[in-house]
């Protein structure tokens, strides 16, 4: 089998992993003339495929042969896909060739489980070792880790990789028993705990190293001690877990294991699907709403309990028609309107349609002048969403606005016109929270009509 065929099979096998981040690595480069590449700072998306996803890393499996039988996975042992296997040298060669042409930021390597967890882990690590030790590669490496592998191997993986990840797959053991029978929630969380501990240790070693090196050799970078982040992925819609269960698990992982990111992946039709799997894929917008809720947890000061309380959800699920912040606000109208000229940052972040950046700008602005309707317009926030919930110098939400029983209907689009913008899973996804990019002429007309009556 030639290189092209292998690449085709093993990239196809890797595409269901949503993670694509290439940011947050320790800053380094090859300015001195030694080594290949650089990393650190914001990630770069070198291309985009027609599914709207970014191409940042060479994302491949070392092999798609697998002992496990996870029913949502294209590579499970029962699947009838064609199998292939790269040698470590082949992956190294591809990574370097693509990297030197500026196609990619680095490598994302995962693998089917062959023979045993340790044997597989050793092969994956060998690729990273060659890249780092033989070729002095300084680009980004993300290694997928198997929780059942020995602690020593997981540590070694972290020594070479900028990011390591273990996929939690489903939020409950019940779900795993049915859909990923070889996987175990407790073992996965134990491994995450081990990784977290090493990351924390590495961070303080780096700090100590930096302090020492500034005293001695100026400009010398302390050697990478350990990966500085871990992430995970949850499959959405395969088992019966509701959004509350998914968000509670995510929150648990963020708090308990310091995960950088939890990725949500609505399972989509795969070739050679399993009879165990539900025949109907979940709507992709569900995944989008989970990402938005995830952002509320991490950047907007929402507590998971607020988002998942029974009175915030419909039968445990997020509202698919409107974003979760708006949905939360509509159900907690007694907390509004909020005076943009007086309220604290925490309260401003609760206003539908105001993103972190807009809040920052409003806080700056109001130190010097009263915030007015015209300012909101110039800040390009979604007036339709914001106005019913706020007071500014020359605007008070009309009674029929905030108290209107039909307020929700103004935001929920008629079903046949749904056009979702979801699945932005990179750093920019935050913007999705307060986006109303498809604000059509019609919508804008409605906005001005609305503001005119105030």
């Amino acid at each position: 089998m030639d290189q092209d065929q292998k690449l085709s099979i093993l990239a196809d096998a890797a595409k269901y992993d949503a993670s694509c981040a290439s940011s947050g690595a320790k800053r380094r480069d090859s300015r001195s003339g030694a080594g290949v590449g650089s990393a650190g700072g914001a990630g770069i998306c070198h291309s985009y495929t027609p599914d709207g996803r970014c191409v940042s890393l060479l994302k491949v499996l070392l092999t798609n042969v697998c002992l496990y039988d996870c029913h949502y996975c294209i590579n499970r042992r029962s699947s009838e896909v064609q199998r292939a296997r790269f040698t470590p040298e082949e992956v190294v060669d591809l990574t370097l060739s693509f990297y030197k042409r500026n196609y990619i930021e680095g490598l994302f390597l995962s693998s089917g489980i062959v023979r045993s967890a340790d044997y597989t882990m050793e092969m994956v690590i060998e690729v990273a070792r060659q890249l780092r030790d033989v070729h002095d590669f300084r680009g980004y490496i993300h290694l997928k880790t198997i929780p059942e592998a020995s602690q020593e191997l997981i540590e070694l993986a972290g020594k070479y990789a900028d990011r390591i990840s273990i996929n939690i797959e489903l939020p409950s053991q019940e779900g795993l028993d049915r859909f990923a029978p070889e996987k175990n929630l407790e073992r996965t969380q134990d491994a995450m705990g081990g990784i977290r501990q090493r990351i924390v240790e590495g961070r303080s070693e780096r700090k100590a190293g930096r302090a020492a090196s500034t005293r001695t050799a100026r400009g010398r970078q302390a050697p990478a001690v350990y990966a500085n982040g871990q992430s995970t992925q949850m499959i959405v819609g395969a088992d019966r877990s509701d959004d509350a269960a998914i968000l509670q698990r995510a929150d648990h992982l963020y708090r308990g294991y310091e995960l950088r990111r939890v990725y949500y992946s609505a399972f989509s039709p795969i070739p050679s699907s399993s009879t165990i799997l539900p025949s109907k894929a979940p709507p992709l917008v569900r995944e989008h709403r989970l990402y938005q809720a995830d952002w509320l947890l991490r950047f907007y000061g929402f507590d998971v309990g607020e988002l998942t309380a029974a009175d915030s959800l419909d039968g445990g699920h997020l509202d698919l028609d409107i974003d979760p912040k708006l949905a939360w606000a509509l159900r907690h109208r007694q907390l509004f309107p909020i005076d943009l000229n007086r309220a604290d940052r925490e309260s401003l972040l609760r206003v539908p349609g105001l993103g972190v950046r807009s809040v920052q700008r409003i806080l700056q602005l109001r130190r010097w002048q009263a915030v007015r309707y015209e300012d909101l317009r110039k800040l390009r926030v979604s007036l339709e969403k914001v106005l019913p919930f706020v007071i500014v110098a020359d605007h008070h939400p009309a009674r029929q606005g905030l108290d209107d029983e039909n307020l929700r209907a103004r935001f929920a689009p008629p079903p046949e016109q749904l056009e979702f913008d979801f699945g932005r899973h990179n750093a920019a996804a935050g913007a999705a929270l307060h986006h109303a990019p498809q604000a059509t002429e019609l919508k804008q007309a409605r906005v001005s009509a609305h503001s005119g009556e105030l």
């Binding site: 090859s30 003339g33 291309s47 002992l67 009838e80 028993d177 399993s274 700008r361 920019a428």
Partner: protein
């Protein structure tokens, strides 16, 4: 000093010349409405323009000796915006500089809804996006190995929206230090040969090589990493607008991948699902415990 005004070239071509001139005008008290700024790129220059300038920009007899403190924040913003292609940027920058200093609006940069600031911030954002896209979408092609040094040699073609070539240089220099490379653009070209960056005039597209030897393999990757079940063209285009497509080898696949996506997805859905295979004999799988994999048959009835 008067002679300096009368004889100087008013065409501004970079941040340094703008800064020198802006400093002079500010100190001599020439108000923004009186100052004339001409971009070196704009061709509408005539002799009378210069004449007019010398008359309106006579320095105030009581040339002021006050030192104006300019924040690093404004200088950074001004340097960024100086890369913009809009010929009005020089006068806009001067007006904001004036308002920050003589105008007494020290906090002006904090007012995101001020029209001048909005414009400046908008321009800065366009520059930063252009820069980011250049870092992302430059595609090197290997042209050979240097006979003397043995270093690999690469060339790329890129068409930035703004004058950002020098701004983009540090990224490429730090990342691809061990290769020789040239990035060619219509405005300006830059070259790295291992120790020093050099710049030459812009060139037309034809002077750049087309068709890299690894393009096919890259297209294979692009084709395979795409998931036809999740077609979302609009999201792709907002991040990778069509104007970039002609210089991206993978972009020629977009039409075809899009056209066949729904059929591929439907074929996956209608295809007969596969029954689970029994667990193979494997010591490792057995070590995972009795429970693992045992429950499947029982739960089928759920």
């Amino acid at each position: 000093m008067e002679r300096a005004v009368g004889n100087s070239d008013f065409r501004i071509h970079d941040f340094a010349t703008w800064r020198t001139r802006a400093r002079f005008l500010l100190h001599t008290g020439v108000a923004p409405a009186e100052a004339i700024w001409e971009d070196s790129e704009s061709s509408e220059q005539d002799l009378f323009a210069n004449l007019a300038v010398t008359q309106t920009e006579q320095p105030d007899a009581a040339a002021d000796t006050q030192q104006w403190l300019i924040s690093a924040e404004f200088l950074r913003l001004a340097e960024t915006v100086s890369c913009h292609r809009d010929p009005m940027r020089w006068s806009l920058l001067y007006r904001v500089l004036w308002r920050l200093t003589r105008g007494g609006e020290k906090h002006l940069l904090k007012l995101s809804t001020d029209n001048d600031i909005r414009r400046l911030q908008g321009m800065a954002k366009q520059i930063s996006r252009d820069l980011h896209k250049m870092h992302a979408f430059v595609r090197f092609q290997k042209t050979g190995d240097c006979a003397e040094t043995g270093r690999e040699q690469f060339v790329a073609w890129f068409e930035p929206d703004h004058f950002i070539v020098r701004f983009a240089a540090p990224f490429f220099r730090k990342r691809f230090t061990s290769m020789d490379w040239s990035i060619l653009t219509p405005d300006e070209c830059m070259h790295w040969r291992g120790s020093k960056l050099s710049f030459t005039d812009g060139v037309p597209r034809e002077q750049a090589p087309s068709g890299g030897e690894l393009d096919d393999l890259w297209r294979t990757y692009y084709r395979s990493i795409f998931n036809p079940s999740r077609l979302k063209l609009q999201a792709m285009q907002s991040e990778m607008p069509k104007k970039y497509w002609k210089n991206l080898p993978e972009a020629e696949l977009i039409e075809e991948l899009t056209a066949e996506a729904n059929n591929r997805r439907d074929a996956m859905i209608t295809r007969q699902a596969v029954e689970p295979k029994p667990r193979p004999k494997n010591a490792y799988l057995e070590s995972l415990g009795e429970g693992a994999g045992a429950g499947v048959e029982d739960e089928r009835s759920l």
